[in-house]
């Protein structure tokens, strides 16, 4: 059983943190990972920076641009993560756009993930049909759990389909929009959370996009299994640096 699956069995509201590899500096990847594990997060998504992150808001865009300018690259990430499993045990996901993975070679990429001890992949612009037709086997062979997104616009039929091909959790995009920290959620968000809850899917849902603080984390996880914080965490890093990680995580739950 994969680390993600195991984590999902814990009966608590999971806190997942996203950060962009190479930001604020190239050397921060391992220190951030270790600080996050230490402060008790449940899942970590390592973002692979991309030149054209079209599902992302300004914060993540800018962190990616900085990371690329810092020299971050797929090869570099894997080098940095070589011994990560000697240091931390928290489930790790890579989150990246499809083109850099395609250039690295999907097969090669997945194998590297396996060797590194990565547990899952989030590739927002890899359509589920293409995944199923071409890459499912490769993912499975390398013990990688594919994470798919659903949004308030995803119809029930498609949600069921996504549920059926999922293996870990469903990444539930909180609202219509790109990534980015929000101060609070609207009524329509909680209705959406409730609606999905009522569908009683096979796989747990973790909410992403717009979670920034205790309040939004609480709202997002009322009817779900957990929530992902990305932009707000990156904003904190810009402001307080790595030293702020522990206080930030403690402030959420």
């Amino acid at each position: 059983m994969n680390r993600i699956q195991k984590k999902l069995e814990e009966k608590k509201k999971l806190l997942s943190i996203y950060f962009t590899a190479g930001y604020p500096t190239t050397q921060d990847t391992i220190p951030i990972l270790m600080a996050l594990e230490k402060s008790g997060v449940d899942l970590i998504e390592i973002g692979l920076p991309f030149s054209d992150p079209l599902a992302d808001g300004t914060t993540i865009q800018e962190s990616a641009a900085t990371a690329l300018k810092n020299g971050m690259a797929t090869e570099v990430i894997f080098n940095q993560l070589k011994d990560v499993r000697k240091k931390i045990t928290v489930p790790l996901l890579l989150m990246g756009y499809f083109n850099p993975i395609l250039q690295f070679g999907v097969e090669n990429f997945c194998q590297k993930c396996y060797e590194t001890g990565i547990d899952g992949l989030i590739i927002p612009d890899l359509p589920i049909q293409v995944y199923e037709e071409f890459y499912k086997n490769t993912f499975e062979k390398n013990g990688l759990i594919p994470i798919f997104l659903i949004t308030p616009q995803t119809d029930n039929e498609r949600i069921n389909r996504i549920d059926s091909i999922s293996d870990g959790f469903i990444y539930m995009v909180s609202n219509n929009g790109t990534t980015g920290a929000k101060k609070t959620f609207e009524k329509e968000q909680s209705e959406y959370f409730k609606r999905i809850f009522a569908m009683k899917l096979k796989h747990p849902q973790i909410v992403g996009f717009g979670i920034s603080n205790k309040d939004t984390f609480y709202q997002a996880t009322k009817f779900t299994s957990g929530a992902i914080i990305g932009s707000a965490f990156i904003q904190m890093l810009s402001r307080d640096g790595l030293g702020g990680i522990d206080a930030f995580i403690k402030s959420i739950r």
Binding site: L54, P100, Q103, D125, Q153
Partner: protein, 396 residues
Amino acid sequence: MQKTSYQVNEKGYYGEFGGAFIPEMLYPNVEELRQNYLKILNDPDFQKEVNQLLKNYVGRPTPLYFAKRFSDKYGAKIYLKREDLCHTGAHKINNTIGQIVLAKRLGKKRIIAETGAGQHGVATATVCALMGMKCIVYMGDIDIKRQAPNVARMKMLGATVIPAHSGSKTLKDATNEAIRDWISNPINTHYIIGSVVGPHPYPDLVARFQSVISKEIKQQLLEAEGTENPDYVVACVGGGSNAAGIFYHYLDRLNVKLIAVEAAGKGIHSGKSAATSQLGKIGIIHGSKTLVMQSPDGQITEPYSISAGLDYPGIGPMHAHLFQTKRVQFLSVTDDQAMLAGIELSKMEGIIPAIETAHAIAIFKEQKFKKDDIVVVNLSGRGDKDLNTYIKYFNL
């Protein structure tokens, strides 16, 4: 052996190119379009409305003009398909007319678009004014500054122009911003993309709307030369919409040779170029698998061309396939060659071409044709938008 098809297949691919590599947030929008576009396009009422607008508003058919002095100089029968005479000054409006009527049928109330040189932005703002629809155009901050007249035109037309501050602040980034807007407004908004790029069904949709160009040529050439088929068809390629339109009805007529002209910028190997077919590798850009200029690590690189409409780091998947199958010969032309061709056409035929178009014109200096060869060039747009660049370049 099975005959190669140059059209999109039912999965949205041209050979190995195309598809819809989009985040789930866009799935409903793109799927709605995919499920409806052929039905709507085949509806006689839709066709009637679009055709009326093309005739009475856009000014179609555009002439097929025999360029006598140019023909004499270059030793071939050179015809220019006068898309520069379309309302707003380029072929771009063929597509925006089609898409705005489509958007109306889909019940959309709000239109977004990206633009580089501003030509597609103006064409979109125009049809939105015509239909009384809200229009938002994304444009790179740098392009806004260097294409001020087109920005003013869009504003005159009632559109909101939003600067894209990310990345290199040019076309690629404006496209990213438009996609982000669409993600944020999935229900009431239609995204009018400006070339044969983006996720399926956009490349096919845009190609169909632009195919009116070659449809007209068949008839016009029959009248002028007694044959529907020229020996050569030439077009410049940014994303590839004007080329797709003029190639369209000739794709399966293999005795018609097709030539696509890309921007070599300061030279293909200068590091400042936009010749995607020469420099690109298979990759994903803006939702489509196609040839893409990119770093070995898969980061999309900034292309360069003096022409704002050609400096796109990809080409449409249809063109990637036409390149791969060698159905189309891809040439490239430098800034300098294009500028000289632009002023030569102005002085010899009284037509100032867009700098994009000037790339297609420039091939006559290098390519040799036979005296009887009928060569049809897509005069995709007029050069008024490029006057500042011409003025500076030639010190006029």
